[in-house]
């Protein structure tokens, strides 16, 4: 009601004709600094680029490049201030570059960098947009933060590393996750267009600031990459800051004048807009479809997808445990006799003993083969062993492998293909049996809620275990999971 726009004024898009000395120097610095942080400079990135075998890979390489000139081998280098060292190097190079540029151009009559500034902003906008869209789709098709597994629900709070708690709490609500994903995608799309750039940059700065701070606060390990988007979006907002200051703080009238290139020729227009919309279409729709396909058709997720033993999902008490003929009584302090066990909806069996175990501290990324999906146990202690299994229901046999081990890169490459299973039964008769430790256990299901397992454990002891499912109620929200087309749950 109080601020009236001047109807007659037509926005002029010439940009300021004369820049101050300081503005020019600042621009030169920004130009070098941001290009250094945006243009991929690692040979590895190009190696990957030339090895791509699908359009999806091209899009994900383009949207996920992370500039790193240096990695400092120290705690601070991974988690603290020193992890921003690459920014520091870009800052130094930009500083030197600006000095040289300024010296060289000291006799130049050039009075402004409007066009160059515009195109730098375009590069920054598009870089943020594709990065955010890639971030957004793994939440929009909820993959990034799964709902806690039965085993996770039965893990004490103190046995979690904080970064896991942070991810898991988002996973408690599927709609919250989808909303956050949609927000990131929308913010990304807003940055493709000039009129909505300011709003997109404000949302990005706010949301990604929160993500970056949280990554520092929980050791989430993505703090540098998320701060990167904050930095870029703040750069975009610099253009609007003086006018916001004038209008709302100093209470003065303003006339924005931001440079936009004029496309006069028809051909130029056609080329410009076809490139622009092809780009947008690729990242919004084609990339989105690929993500959908990976998620719902291929099951390339953080959570295993192959259904486990039918109707076995649940938390089990160990009613009887016999090892080499000796029946051991239950004690929570026992390091051999199982304390409890869990069958997940999918192909994971968990048992717990009171023993120190090497904790896998990785984030837990998505893979196709269920064997390598480690999100369910990374960053968690409590003496739990996670076994991946495949079922031979005719012979009532389970083939199992301890998931918490370092598989060789070659092995992962060989088996992380289209299939979610790796055919352990076949591998059992090869040298893989010993190299990855494949176990073969008989199972019986004498009663509805009872499962009896027998076979040799990893130390070649004969074990015989009777498991009885307990009726556990959880109060931490409603379970959800993605249903993969290939399977019936």
């Amino acid at each position: 009601m109080e601020i009236k726009q001047n109807i007659e004024s037509v926005p002029s898009h010439s940009g300021s004709p004369i820049w101050s000395k300081l503005e020019k120097v600042a621009f030169r610095f920004a130009f070098i600094f941001f290009l250094l942080l945006i243009v991929p400079l690692q040979s590895k990135w190009y190696e990957r680029l030339f090895k791509i075998d699908s359009f999806y890979e091209l899009l994900s390489i383009l949207s996920g490049s992370r500039t790193s000139f240096i990695e400092i081998e120290s705690e601070s280098g991974k988690w603290g201030a020193a992890s921003y060292a690459s920014w520091g190097i870009a800052f130094l190079i930009a500083g030197i570059g600006t000095a040289i540029w300024t010296i060289i151009s000291r006799n130049s009559k050039r009075q402004q960098y409007n066009a160059l500034y515009y195109w730098l902003r375009v590069i920054v906008r598009y870089r943020i947009a594709v990065g955010l869209i890639a971030f957004g789709y793994i939440k929009f098709f909820p993959m990034q933060m799964p709902f806690p597994s039965v085993s996770n629900l039965n893990t004490d709070l103190g046995d979690y590393a904080t970064f896991k708690l942070y991810w898991q709490v988002v996973g408690l609500s599927v709609w919250y996750q989808i909303f956050l994903g949609a927000l990131e995608i929308v913010a990304g799309i807003l940055l493709f267009f000039r009129a909505t750039t300011a709003l997109g940059a404000i949302i990005t700065a706010g949301v990604l600031y929160n993500i970056a701070h949280a990554n520092i606060a929980y050791d989430g390990a993505v703090h540098v990459y998320s701060s990167y988007f904050v930095l870029l979006s703040l750069f975009l907002l610099v253009q609007y800051a003086p006018n916001i200051w004038k209008l709302f703080v100093k209470k003065e009238s303003i006339t924005p004048n931001y440079y936009y290139p004029k496309l006069k020729e028809r051909n130029k227009k056609i080329i410009f807009y076809s490139i622009k919309y092809a780009f947008i279409f690729s990242f919004v729709f084609i990339y989105g479809y690929y993500r959908y396909n990976l998620h719902y058709n291929e099951g390339r997720l953080k959570e295993p997808v192959v259904p486990g033993l039918a109707k076995a999902e649940g938390y089990y008490s160990v009613s009887s445990f016999t090892i080499n003929g000796d029946t051991l009584a239950y004690s929570p302090l026992d390091s051999i006799r199982w304390n409890d066990a869990v069958f997940e909806r999918y192909s994971t069996l968990v048992f717990k003993v009171d023993k120190a175990i090497d904790i896998n501290l990785a984030n837990g990324g998505p893979t196709t083969a269920d064997l390598f999906k480690d999100y369910e146990f990374t960053g968690r202690s409590g003496g739990k062993t996670y076994l991946y299994y495949e079922t031979d229901s005719i012979n009532k046999t389970l083939y199992l492998v301890n998931k918490n081990q370092e598989f060789s890169k070659k092995f992962i490459k060989k088996f992380d293909k289209e299939d979610n299973q790796i055919n352990l039964k076949k591998l059992y008769n090869t040298t893989y049996r010993d190299s990855i430790g494949i176990l073969k256990w008989k199972y019986e299901r004498p009663q509805k809620n009872r499962i009896v397992l027998s076979g040799k454990d990893q130390e070649k002891n004969d074990i015989h275990v009777v498991l009885d499912k307990l009726d556990r109620k959880y109060t931490v929200g409603e379970e959800w999971h993605s249903e993969i087309r290939k399977y019936v749950y």
Partner: protein
């Protein structure tokens, strides 16, 4: 230099909406809320009471005191809106009001009132985040509760509480800054914008994690939106259309007395905030709020394995299914014991409110925890033997008496009678447990 305000006439719709809005907010300024009055019965000038007053809401229909998505509080908005509708029509039919062309002066004062109301509420909310009062660190009992045995809101709070790098205090500081920015005409747009961002997240989180303050937080968001309303066209102009925009804000004509009173009021307001901050900090340091202040037995804090459980003269073996035998016991630093056994917990689903509570009534530790049974205890010592009086924190009718003896540094012998009159003889053994939650992920680690 500032431009002069160009006065303009309002359209009839604008006038009607203004009348409606003014009455709506006047009604929702009435400090009527039975829950508020009940929670103010003790505690005098405690920071909790001040917090309750600063964050008051108008509830003709009382809001639920339990967590979950309770939307009945919106009925109060509806009531206010209906009354405002009738009021606006009556107002419009008054003779000398029919000729009114605009309400700039009144609108100005409405915004002032809303700015101060929001500032007060949000700054106080920020202060209780600045110190770990609203979101305190997890207790040892929390550490030994399975993830699935918390209510959603509690898990959200605990997850926030385990953050480092001043994550929660910085959110508190942002709320305080946003609030302070509302106090000055020149920063009000930025302040309201910041608060809209923060409050939008708070409202969403309230729904998602069923925290229970959906209505109140959305009321604050509504206020923030009304405050920024006059700037919307300017923002739209500036950020989307990128057109010239003339500054045109109404400056009220204030009498000399009003000017003086305004300064006095602003000083008082800032002093109130400062006093509240100091009081809150001192009180938190002093009384351990929201946890009990009374210390427990010296050097007893820890998690204990129930090594032996003798029930009516019979030793019960370890079991996770037995409904009699305890599985583990936590002694907190203060006078709380929590027990894990296989008896279902009647979960305490009250909202986590910042209200004055006598030591024995401090309930935050058991709220939203369905995995452990919580007891507070009084103890007296006689020659190394302690006598314990336990009270069930969720049902204060249930009382137990135990004797406790320290067998050695890490072993305790508990003897007593349970609620059914059966004798218990329990040996507890303190476990040297290391927590991944505290060890973190920065170095390779091998632990149980």
């Amino acid at each position: 230099m500032e431009a002069q305000y160009k006065s303009s006439t309002w359209s009839l719709t604008e006038i009607f909406i203004f009348r409606l809005g003014l009455i709506f907010f006047i009604i929702l300024f009435i400090p009527y809320d039975l829950n508020l009055y009940r929670s103010l019965t003790g505690g005098g000038f405690s920071f909790q009471n001040l917090f309750q007053i600063a964050t008051y809401r108008t509830s003709f229909i009382s809001e639920s005191l339990y967590v979950g998505n309770h939307l009945e509080g919106y009925y109060n908005w509806l009531i206010a809106l209906l009354l405002a509708f009738v009021g606006a029509i009556i107002w419009g039919s008054l003779k000398n009001e029919q000729t009114k062309k605009e309400y700039n002066q009144l609108y100005y004062w409405l915004r002032v009132a809303l700015r101060y109301r929001l500032a007060l509420a949000i700054i106080f909310t920020g202060v209780v985040k600045l110190f770990p009062i609203q979101i305190p660190e997890p207790t040892l009992s929390d550490f030994h509760t399975p993830y699935g045995n918390f209510l959603l809101w509690k898990m959200y709070y605990l997850t926030n509480a385990v953050s480092s790098a001043l994550y929660i205090p910085s959110l508190g500081i942002l709320e305080i800054i946003g609030g302070l920015f509302l106090l000055n005409r020149r920063t009000v747009t930025i302040g309201a914008g910041l608060l809209i961002a923060l409050l939008t997240n708070i409202v969403i989180v309230n729904y998602v994690y069923e925290i229970g303050e959906q209505v109140y937080s959305s009321f604050l968001l509504l206020i923030a939106l009304i405050i920024i309303l006059p700037d919307v066209s300017g923002l739209y102009n500036l950020l989307f259309l990128e057109k010239s925009t003339q500054y045109n804000e109404f400056s009220p004509i204030l009498s000399k007395l009003t000017y003086k009173l305004r300064s006095v009021f602003q000083v008082v307001f800032l002093l109130t905030i400062t006093a509240f901050t100091v009081l809150t900090f001192v009180s938190w340091k002093d009384t351990n709020y929201p946890f009990p202040k009374t210390k427990g037995i010296a050097d007893i804090k820890g998690v204990y394995n129930v090594k032996e459980f003798n029930y009516k003269g019979k030793i019960l073996p370890y079991s996770i299914t037995d409904s009699l035998r305890w599985q583990n016991v936590v002694f907190e630093e203060w006078n709380t014991i929590s027990i894990r056994n296989n008896i279902p917990v009647k979960i305490d689903s009250l909202k986590p409110r910042i209200v004055f509570q006598e030591d024995a009534k401090r309930n935050y530790e058991q709220l939203g925890n369905s995995g452990r049974h919580f007891f507070s205890y009084e103890h007296s010592e006689k020659k190394g033997k302690y006598s314990l009086k336990l009270v069930d924190k969720s049902d204060t009718e249930l009382k137990y008496t135990f004797s406790l003896e320290k067998l050695n540094k890490n072993e305790l012998l508990l003897k007593g009678i349970d609620v059914k009159g059966d004798s218990l003889n329990i040996t507890l053994q303190r476990l040297p447990k290391k927590y991944l939650l505290q060890e973190g992920r920065r170095k390779p680690i091998k632990i149980y």
